[in-house]
Each structure stands twice: as structure tokens, then as C-alpha cells.
Symmetry: C2
């Protein structure tokens, strides 16, 4: 196999050593993003924090953008892991309980590294590089759409696409905003009320 030009960094890491390097870079990026914000997170700082030279960084990531996109992807992938398992579990549950579980899932998902989640949501420019993250969003839509399809007889839904869009966006936005901007809604008696209300919101919309 001929050596690739360094200007187009290879993406595979075959030896264990290099996999460690890549991991260290991703983790360092996440931590620097949280600590310093996107703008002040320079590639030099990230490499230093990872205990790796700046040259190595550019061996595996062609740009800062790509590096941050990889971090975002890893983060989103963790949330999707939770989501896939939850959808599998509630596949045959009735609407009300399924929705409640999915709302709870969404809250839990937003508790995975919430500081990182905030930076990714608030500071990272949405560029084409995030297409893999968008693919995960589309997967979530697909999962819910399939659930709705299977439970169509319980529902008063005509357009499945519109319904899936509404449900996914609603639950995601509400939990996102609550976790990031309204901590008071997630403590004490209000917390239970919030989950109850979101469940009611979506369930009433769907049910006959």
C-alpha cells in the first residue's frame, strides 16, 4: 500500500497506538470545547491537551471543523444508542406508555455530558461536516415513524411524516430547552409535572 500524501490525511488507524491518539484527541477536543468554547479552542491547544503533537492531529483530521464534527458525531451516537434500545423496548407498548418512556429517554439523553451538548448546540457552526449527525436525526424520525405505522389503529393520524416530525421535534426541543435553559423545571415537583405534561401533549395529539 503506497503512502498517502500528508495533505490528505488518512482516516484509518490500524495500530493500537494510533487509535489511542485519535481517542485522546477526541476527548481533549470535547474538554477544551467545554472549558474554552469553540472560538478559543485552537488546534494547538487541543493537541497539547491530548499530549500529542499538532502534526499528529492533522494526520487524522484534515481540519478543525472535521475534528469537532467527529466529536459531535460521537456524542450524538451515544444518545442514539439509548434511543435505539428504547424504541426496541417499547415497540409493542401502547401509545401512552411508549410516549412516556420516550420522553424520559430524551431527558436522559440530554444528561449525557450536558456541558458538551450545550457547546455543540450553541457555538459550533452548522456546516456540511455535520451530515453524519443529521443522518442520526433522520434515523430517529424513521424509528418513530415505524412505531406510529405499527400502531396506526390506535391513532388519529393521517400524515405519518408530519406526525413524526411534530413528535420528534417537540419532545427534543422541549427537553433540550428545559435541560439547558430552565433547570428550575427539572427539580422538585415541577420535574414530574414536566414529563407528565409533555407526555400528555404528545399522546393527546396522537390518540383518536
Amino acid at each position: 500500500m503506497p503512502r498517502k500524501a500528508l495533505t490528505q490525511p488518512r482516516k484509518t488507524a490500524s495500530q493500537a497506538r494510533s487509535r489511542l491518539t485519535v481517542d485522546a484527541l477526541l476527548e481533549a477536543t470535547a474538554r477544551i470545547l467545554v472549558k474554552e468554547g469553540y472560538d478559543r479552542a485552537s488546534t494547538n491547544k487541543i493537541a497539547a491537551r491530548a499530549g500529542v503533537s499538532i502534526g499528529s492531529l492533522y494526520q487524522y483530521f484534515p481540519s478543525k471543523e472535521a475534528l469537532v464534527a467527529a466529536v459531535a458525531e460521537r456524542h450524538a451516537e451515544r444518545a442514539m444508542g439509548l434511543a435505539r434500545r428504547t424504541f426496541a423496548r417499547v415497540a409493542t407498548s401502547p401509545v401512552e406508555t411508549a410516549i412516556r418512556e420516550l420522553v424520559t429517554l430524551s431527558v436522559e439523553a440530554h444528561r449525557i455530558d450536558p456541558e458538551l451538548h450545550r457547546v455543540l448546540a450553541e457555538q459550533v457552526p452548522r456546516t456540511g461536516r455535520l451530515e453524519n449527525v443529521e443522518a442520526l436525526t433522520r434515523e430517529a424520525h424513521g424509528l418513530l415513524r415505524r412505531y406510529l405505522e405499527a400502531h396506526r389503529n390506535e391513532l388519529a393520524i393521517e400524515d405519518l411524516d408530519v406526525a413524526a416530525f411534530i413528535c420528534v421535534t417537540t419532545v427534543e426541543s422541549l427537553t433540550h430547552d428545559a435541560v439547558l435553559d430552565h433547570p428550575e423545571l427539572l427539580t422538585g415537583r415541577k420535574a414530574q409535572r414536566l414529563v407528565d405534561d409533555i407526555t400528555r401533549l404528545v399522546a393527546r395529539y396522537l390518540k383518536t
Copy 2:
């Protein structure tokens, strides 16, 4: 009135001439943001586009951040203008029609300079400078909260804060995402269905 130090730019523009300068800067910033994105929108480019020297820019805005924040504020203020008028109009309307009007308002509001809206939403880092924009969000919550309070007897709501949060966030997120990422939901027969469905979603949640 003593001349202020240039390191802390004054914020008032007393003569008509300088008001024109400020306006040109805001407009140029908006257009450059749309055309080039946040990162490539340099203050030098903005000043050039406004037909104004870089020095003048820093007479009125202490930083690029402040300049962009002012643009965001002006944009949000326009949307709030629509919102205030709509809330005034539906103050005594029954829930169903009021919600429908508010959903429609939200779609219209997102059609004010949507390209600028997209850049502000997707690329501008959320920093402390945007506090005036946040104040407008809080005002929207307050307006809806007051409406709900006045119509409490028609509603099955216990916690007004939770309900206002849910309604505002839901409608705003759904219209936002639809306008920016799902244009197919806003054309032809799907468009009417979307407004109908969002209205149903919120109205069913609120009503007894």
C-alpha cells in the same frame, strides 16, 4: 458633554449623519452574515460594505460580538412587533382560534429575513451579549402566560409556568425547524396540515 475615550465607544448617535452610519453598519452586517457566514464576516469587510471606515465601526460598536448582537436584537425586535400585535388582537378570543392565530404568526415571523434568521440561529455563538434577545423570549413567555391566566376557566392547566413554557417552546421550535430544515412541509397540501396539526397539538393539550 466631555468627549468619551475611544476605547469605550459611545453608544448614542445624536446627529442624523451618525444615525445613518449606524444603520448602514447594521444592514451591512446582516447582509455580510448571510452572504459569508459568521466566521468570514470580518469587521473590515463589514465596514467596507457599509461604505464606512473601520474606525467608525468601532466608534459605535466595541466589538464584532456587540455588532452582531445588535443585528440579532433588531431582527428579534421585528418578530416581537408582530407578536405583540397578535397577542393584543386575540386577547379575548377563545383558545382554539387564538392558538391558530399564534401558530400562523410564528410561521410569518420566521419568514422575516429567513436567511438572516438561519445564520443567527446556526452560526452565531450564544454569548452573554445576546441578553436583550433573551429578554424578548421572556416577554413572549409573559404574554402567553397572561393570555392563559385570563382564559383559565377554559383550560385544564395547573401550572401556568410549565404550560407557557411548553406552548411557546413547542410552537417556536416546530415552526423554526419546519421553515429552516423542512421546506417540503410548507408547500402545497402539507402546509395547511402542518398548521392544523400544530394547532391541534397545543389546543388539545390546553383544553379541558
